[in-house]
């Protein structure tokens, strides 16, 4: 939407300069970690000295990092699967369903996004210790699913809202039964939303620290929890290498989402 007014006017130039500064403020700090992870020095101080893979080597040697990586991958994958199934069903139920108390149901589904995460964390901790699920894979997957489900519902719900329902009517009028209509018409249309929701669910679990701190034990730790422990105790740049790996995984997945989103047939 090109608007009247030249980009050469002093106001616009000032705005542009602020914009550039803000982009640096938003993205820059994360990028600082990357050169840090290749430092040849022994300590975490700026600027990085020389170039070395020593911290990546140390990360690979230390079994706690590779264990944490695999645990996180497992938890995030299972969380993505469970919350995608639950969330897609919920989106269909909320968008197309009609039932009393729908507003409350909505609020419940979105509330994990708003309730302070520390409260969720200690609440889960107290609750799951009763059920003996703390420090176990299923316990953490269930906890992460509660945090991830809203993102699936939002993503699938948006596509459901904007899709053209005449396509379903057409399928039905051509003799397809409701189940066939769903799988052959509706599902392929909402698939990009489901896919985006699944990736967001994965990222949510992959990055999650606070609930994980309370829900894991020394025997079973995820990567962010391992980082949290290390960051507070040791200041060697290994964490910078781990952080770079974490960031690469998240950013790659996010790019997938952005690509998937482009294909959503809106209206």
């Amino acid at each position: 939407m090109g608007e009247a007014g030249s980009w050469r006017s002093p106001h616009r130039l000032a705005l542009l300069a602020l914009g550039v500064a803000t982009v640096i403020f938003l993205v820059g700090p994360m990028l600082v970690v990357i050169p840090m992870s290749f430092t040849g020095a022994k300590i975490l101080s700026w600027p990085p000295v020389g170039f070395s893979f020593q911290w990546y080597a140390k990360m690979l040697e230390d079994p706690q990092w590779s264990r944490g990586f695999l645990n996180s991958m497992q938890v995030a994958t299972l969380t993505a699967i469970v919350s995608t199934i639950l969330g897609t069903l919920a989106a269909l139920g909320i968008v197309r369903g009609r039932f009393p108390g729908k507003g409350i149901a909505n609020a419940l589904i979105l509330s994990p996004l708003i309730v302070p995460v520390i409260i969720i964390a200690i609440g889960f901790f107290a609750f799951y210790s009763i059920t003996r699920l703390t420090g176990s894979l299923p316990g953490l997957v269930l906890a992460h699913t509660a945090l991830a489900v809203p993102f699936v519902v939002i993503n699938v719900g948006t596509v459901l809202r904007t899709m053209d329902r005449n396509l379903e009517l057409a399928a039905a009028s051509l003799g397809a039964d409701p189940v066939r209509t769903f799988w052959r018409v509706t599902f392929p249309i909402i698939l990009p939303g489901v896919f985006a929701g699944a990736l967001f669910a994965f990222i949510t679990s992959w990055d999650e620290v606070v609930v994980s701190i309370f829900m894991t034990s020394t025997r079973f730790r995820t990567l962010p929890v391992e980082m949290w422990e290390q960051v507070r105790q040791v200041v060697d740049p290994t964490v910078a290498a781990v952080a770079t790996v974490v960031m690469v995984v998240t950013t790659t997945l996010l790019l997938f989402v952005l690509v998937a989103r482009r294909r959503v047939p809106v209206r």
Binding site: T22, L44, G103, I104, I122, G123, I203
Partner: protein
């Protein structure tokens, strides 16, 4: 587009037709899951705040709340939490408003790129971003080393483990939550309105102040309230960038549980935090659509 009304908003109900249809059945699994796996734990805490009483409390169910509001250190933490959350909100607004306005003025392609600059950090690990701020703020970090290299300072600036450091980190981390609702609101403002103001003789500044800005106020409120609520519950960033002197409520609660095993007091504090959040959110729900923010990728 009215799917997912604001939290605590009124349910949209169409007239006519059955009260319940078959699609509604599909929402049952997630509702049961959240009732058992999410709401129940919170309710247990609510109960513990009035039943887990310390010895010698003579069964007064409000003992934990009295302990919380009676302790000077506790009130200092509460005050500090409001202080940091408030300043982060102001910081986000000052940086976020011009940015969202720039997005609004830019061509769709540039607006898309500016949006990605918001979304990438939005979806990146909170811990990684906080760690990055450690690398930047430490005495031997990016800022201090650079300034010393240029000969501007001799002594390192006090950034790490100070309120300044916490504010910098939290403002950067929360900024997307300000920009996204702001941009969503601004994108809905009809450009013809400012043009009309200009045609009627208003200077660009006047057109902005009298026409554009008032129309963007719902976005300002939505973003500010959202940032404030989220900032109130921040744990990781203040714990890593701050010091015991400027502890926020979340870290304080965590310590009660982890080190002192004082579940009663921790639960009472948690209830206070939830209550504050709910009040702020209730006010927010008048102007905000939560979906606009969290369905971030639809922000166009």
């Amino acid at each position: 587009m009215l799917f997912l009304r604001p939290v605590f908003g009124r349910a949209g109900r169409r007239t006519g037709g059955p009260l319940v249809n078959r699609w509604a059945l599909l929402a049952i699994p997630v509702l049961i899951f959240l009732l058992v796996g999410f709401l129940a734990p919170l309710l247990i805490m609510a109960v513990r705040s009035v039943t887990d009483l310390p010895a010698g409390s003579e069964g007064d169910p409000l003992t934990n709340f009295r302990r919380f509001f009676g302790g000077e250190a506790n009130l200092r933490v509460l005050g500090n939490t409001f202080f940091i959350a408030g300043l982060s909100t102001v910081g986000c607004l000052l940086i976020g408003y011009p940015y969202a306005y720039l997005m609004r003025l830019a061509s769709p392609r540039w607006a898309g790129l500016l949006l990605i600059a918001v979304l990438v950090p939005f979806w990146s690990s909170l811990l990684v971003r906080t760690y990055a701020w450690q690398v930047i703020l430490r005495d031997t970090g990016l800022i201090n080393s650079t300034l010393r290299g240029w000969g501007i300072i001799n002594q390192p600036l006090d950034l790490y483990q100070t309120t300044t450091g916490v504010l910098l980190g939290m403002t950067q981390i929360l900024l997307p939550f300000m920009v996204l609702p702001l941009f969503t609101t601004m994108a809905r403002i009809d450009p013809e309105l400012t043009k009309a103001a200009a045609n009627l003789g208003a200077s660009p500044t006047r057109a902005f102040l009298r026409v554009f800005f008032p129309l963007s106020v719902p976005g300002v409120l939505a973003g500010s309230l959202l940032v404030f609520v989220l900032a109130l519950g921040f744990y990781i960033t203040p714990a890593l960038l701050g010091s015991p002197k400027n502890t926020m409520l979340s870290a304080f609660i965590a310590t009660r549980v982890q080190q002192q095993l004082d579940w009663g007091l921790a639960s009472a504090m948690a209830m206070v935090l939830v209550a504050i959040t709910l009040v702020v959110l209730f006010l927010a729900s008048r102007v905000i659509r939560v979906r606009d923010v969290f369905g971030a990728l639809d922000a166009e």
